[in-house]
């Protein structure tokens, strides 16, 4: 094979493979998303876990919570920092949405950016959408 053809092909290949990166660099206008803290979440400043643990582990946490509520009938959660929460996604004042209020301004911000589509909302309702 011709040496020039190979090198040209390689360069085109590398560019194609890296295309998501330079495409984003050119077109995207935002950096990482900022979920908005509203209502009680803003004032309380003390969530179930600290920010970094929540960001990394909230999926596992919700998984534990749902098993705990449905299978063991345990609905109250006292976190390490002493606060009491209702192990529920959307029901009641001490639930996730009870403090964080709006799914579109909080949950969806990161999820949409990361192209994650959790199926929680197929069953769990968002109180704001109903009203």
């Amino acid at each position: 094979m011709n040496k020039n053809a190979i090198i040209t092909g390689l360069i085109i290949f590398v560019l194609a493979v890296l295309s998501p990166f330079w495409f984003n660099m050119i077109t995207a206008t935002q950096a990482a998303p900022e979920p908005e803290l509203l209502g009680k979440a803003k004032t309380e400043k003390n969530c179930v876990l600290n920010k970094y643990e929540m960001r990394a582990n909230h999926m596992a946490l919700l998984d534990e919570w749902r098993d705990s509520v449905v299978r063991n009938a345990d609905r109250m959660y006292e976190s390490a920092n002493g606060h009491s929460f209702n192990m529920s996604l959307s029901t009641g004042e001490n639930s996730c949405l009870g403090c964080h209020e709006d799914k579109t301004k909080f949950c969806d911000k990161c999820h949409t950016y990361a192209s994650v589509d959790p199926y929680c909302w197929e069953c769990h309702t968002n109180p704001k959408e109903i009203r």
């Binding site: 876990l49 946490l61 098993d67 009938a73 345990d74 609905r75 390490a80 069953c123």
Partner: protein, 274 residues
């Protein structure tokens, strides 16, 4: 010779890949990455407790109106879809026509010979011909549906309630085949278009999972009685079957009661005073 070394290269590469892949998994398993090691999970202080929840339905107090308010209370509170409503075209465009044979009902009325098919009687007392009988999940002590479920998505809780874990259900419908009472429902389609007013305090279900009466476990957890009991105007009494001093045991002691298909030995927890 080329084949031998290519084969051994692939073997080594495969083992290396498994090893590399296993490392993070083992790290995760070994570490305490949940972050909830010091948290405490408990029940609500107001929650009602029992060793075995049961229900007595006094059929003499059940009228068509009572049945209607019971069914409405239960189905509205639990976001049970109603295939008879007009679907909101704007919110749910292109909804396909309903198949009423795929309905969902947690509690409903039946005639005597359907509720108690093993008690066929040519000379049945006249009044029982037209009386409405409420039927629902019996939360059996030896529930065949619990035995059948391959994922334990339907399971028996400590307090006797046969619960559904909608997160785990794979929709195989083995439990529906197993139930001797026809109490179970499958979501053949997304129920949301058929819920007129969504109750925000209880989730809906998605398509592809089985559902049924849950003895209002979410209300018992807050210290409240099930919806059907509250709407029944005293026709339904709910309590702990294992507590010899509960209202329900008093009723069972004073009246002759029957249960559906008793001879099958599933030990239903729903009794009927005739």
């Amino acid at each position: 010779m080329m084949e031998k070394s290519r084969r051994s290269f692939l073997k080594v590469a495969g083992i290396a890949a498994i090893g590399l892949g296993a490392a993070p998994a083992m790290n995760f398993a070994a570490s305490d990455s949940h972050g909830t090691a010091h948290a405490v999970k408990s029940k609500n202080k107001k929650a009602l407790h029992a060793q075995r929840w049961g229900m007595v339905i006094d059929t003499n107090k059940i009228t068509d109106e009572v049945v209607e308010s019971i069914v409405e209370a239960c189905h509205k509170a639990h976001n049970v879809p109603d295939f008879n409503i007009e679907v909101d075209e704007k919110k749910y465009p292109n909804t396909r026509p309903v198949n009423h044979k795929q309905e969902v009902k947690w509690i409903w009325e039946e005639e005597f010979h359907n509720a108690f098919p093993d008690k066929e009687d040519e000379f049945l007392a006249e009044k029982f011909h037209d009386l409405p009988f409420l039927v629902t999940c019996n939360h059996c002590k030896n529930a065949p549906c619990v035995q059948a479920c391959p994922t334990q998505a339907t399971f028996k809780r400590e307090d006797g309630i046969v619960m559904m874990d909608f997160h785990r259900c794979i929709g195989c419908r083995f439990c529906m085949a197993a139930c001797p009472f026809g109490s179970r429902n499958f979501n053949f389609r997304d129920p949301r278009p058929f819920i007129e007013e969504v109750n925000p305090t209880f989730p809906t279900r998605s398509k592809g999972v089985v559902e049924k009466c849950n003895f209002c476990a979410e209300r018992l957890a807050k210290g409240e009685l099930p919806h059907c009991v509250e709407a029944s105007e005293g026709a339904i009494v709910f309590g702990d079957l294992e507590d010899s001093e509960s209202d329900i045991r008093v009723l069972l002691n004073e009246n002759y009661t029957i249960r559906r298909k008793q001879s099958l030995g599933t030990e239903p927890s729903v009794y009927y005073i005739m």
